[in-house]
């Protein structure tokens, strides 16, 4: 599938927001660029037919994450320095550029965006076909993402809950909040 105009605009928007977050000196401005970036990328998820991921990204990535960052900023400091942009470091650009070039060298061996059949083993693979053919019969849930998340890979989701719980415990321990005292 070739690049459509709306996808091109969205990709340029998210890349612009990411670069803005990188070069803006003010932390709050960088944070706002990051929130716009999250919102843009959640629209990209919807364009790629992943509405569940889009909803989660919009609620968690653009919503909760921004609130967490603002809370952290409110409890620390927003350095007031002169100049709108950070100075650009040529040495780091060279290093990151080398990394990006090496990564870009792998792109031609990846399947084209939107490929199916033998060209895209993820879409046509045995596991995907199994889930799509049997998810409704096995779980009676229409949404295959929910079926895989809660039924087939329920243990992974339990592990995810453990991660969230330990993160909460770790954050409270680090902040020395004695909420249970």
């Amino acid at each position: 599938m070739s690049l459509s105009l709306i996808e091109a605009v969205l990709l340029v928007f998210v890349l612009g927001c990411a670069i803005g977050a990188a070069v803006l000196r003010d932390v709050l401005a960088a944070l706002m660029a990051f929130a716009a970036y999250s919102l843009g990328i959640s629209i990209i998820w919807v364009m790629l037919e992943a509405p569940d991921v889009g909803l989660t990204e919009a609620a968690v990535g653009a919503g909760i994450m921004t609130i967490l960052f603002i809370l952290a900023l409110a409890n620390t400091v927003r350095p007031q320095e002169n100049g709108l942009f950070e100075p650009i470091s040529v040495r780091t650009i060279a290093l990151v550029g080398a990394f990006v070039v090496v990564m870009l060298a792998t792109v031609p061996s990846l399947p084209a965006v939107g490929a199916d059949g033998a060209a895209n083993p993820v879409v046509s693979g045995e596991v995907t076909q199994y889930y799509i053919e049997n998810a409704y019969a096995d779980t009676e849930v229409h949404n295959a993402v929910t079926a895989v998340l809660a039924a087939y890979r329920g243990f992974d989701t339990l592990g995810e809950a453990v991660v969230v719980f330990s993160a909460g415990v770790a954050a409270l321990t680090v902040l020395r909040q004695e909420v249970f005292a």
Partner: protein, 118 residues
């Protein structure tokens, strides 16, 4: 090159996002901006997964009679889990940052190094 960009556009965006995230992780002196960079790096990898799950003309994987073809649901599930884990990671990182600020009174990496070695 342009043909490759036309057929693999999302992968170019993935690699550029990884680059931007890495740049912020290395170069930002403020610790909060480093965490933002980590999140950008993360979403770059998410874009890679979701793009691999996509097929042209596919529908969201909500199974109906004669509703196909569907995009692959498995990468969506992995990324849903990864988004939530990413938020947990960010929460712990920000809690550490608040503690660092109450201990040292700065979030600047260079000043922190100085204070640490003095």
């Amino acid at each position: 090159m342009l043909e490759l960009l036309d057929s693999h556009y999302n992968y170019f965006a993935v690699m550029l996002l990884l680059g931007i995230g890495l740049y912020m992780l290395i170069e930002s002196r403020n610790l909060v901006k480093k965490v933002i960079g980590m999140n950008i790096f993360q979403t770059g990898i998410f874009l890679f997964f979701i793009t691999l799950a996509f097929r042209a003309g596919g529908n969201p994987p909500i199974i109906e009679e004669g509703g196909g073809p569907y995009v692959s649901p498995l990468p969506h599930v992995l990324i849903l889990t990864a988004i939530v884990v990413g938020v947990s990671l960010t929460a712990v990182a920000l809690a550490l940052i608040i503690r660092i600020y109450t201990e040292y009174g700065t979030l600047d990496e260079d000043k922190l190094k100085q204070l640490y070695y003095d």
